[in-house]
Amino acid sequence: DVKVTQSSRYLVKRTGEKVFLECVQDMDHENMFWYRQDPGLGLRLIYFSYDVKMKEKGDIPEGYSVSREKKERFSLILESASTNQTSMYLCASSSNPGVEKLFFGSGTQLSVL
């Protein structure tokens, strides 16, 4: 079975801190994604990557950056955390071609105080 592992289930950070969320997948997938999930809004795409060192902005990239140095690992970075970034963050991966379903990690609930 595909496994997408997010490093932390819960995180509490202070405003202004730099925050790293890590995601690792074990199925050699080309594509990796970061979504945030907020009640009533569904999931919104922050960034995605279709290859090592390649990244593209999603629908809500402001305040975030990403890094993909190895195929299996995709990191989401909050350069200076703010309270409006309190959310559930979900990582996902998929293989090509682009018809395949996404496999999601279990999520990181981030609270910024």
Binding site: N31, G40, G42, L45, F48, N96, V99, K101, L102
Partner: protein
């Protein structure tokens, strides 16, 4: 900009009843996904619908896609408590551009009462 809307957002039903969740989207696409999320858990893929008229069934759940109407439905037959979850539909606005940049609906929280 693609918008994906689900209704209802909340649904409380009794075991044994049938019901349908609707997913409307605003721009042309023939690639639609349904996911399930249990409380505190991640999303699990249910169905991938890839063409107009596509119908897929798994147990008590059946999903269909009408690309002309820009509508997908998730039909629940003879509901059982185990189907209580939040259901999301998602649309790929650019299915020929590689990675699947899905746009999700708000989710439908389904509660099935004994």
């Amino acid at each position: 900009e693609l918008k994906v809307e689900q209704n209802p957002l909340f649904l409380s039903m009794q075991e044994g009843k049938n019901y349908t969740i609707y997913c409307n989207y605003s721009t042309t696409s023939d690639r639609l996904y349904w996911y399930r999320q249990d409380p505190g858990k991640s999303l699990e893929s249910l169905f991938v619908l890839l063409s107009n008229g596509a119908v897929k069934q798994e147990g008590r759940l059946m999903a269909s896609l009408d690309t002309k109407a820009r509508l997908s439905t998730l039909h629940i037959t003879a509901a059982v408590h185990d189907l209580s979850a939040t259901y999301f539909c998602a649309v790929d606005p650019d299915p020929f551009q590689g990675a699947q940049k899905l746009v999700f609906g708000q989710g439908t929280r389904l509660t099935i009462n004994p």
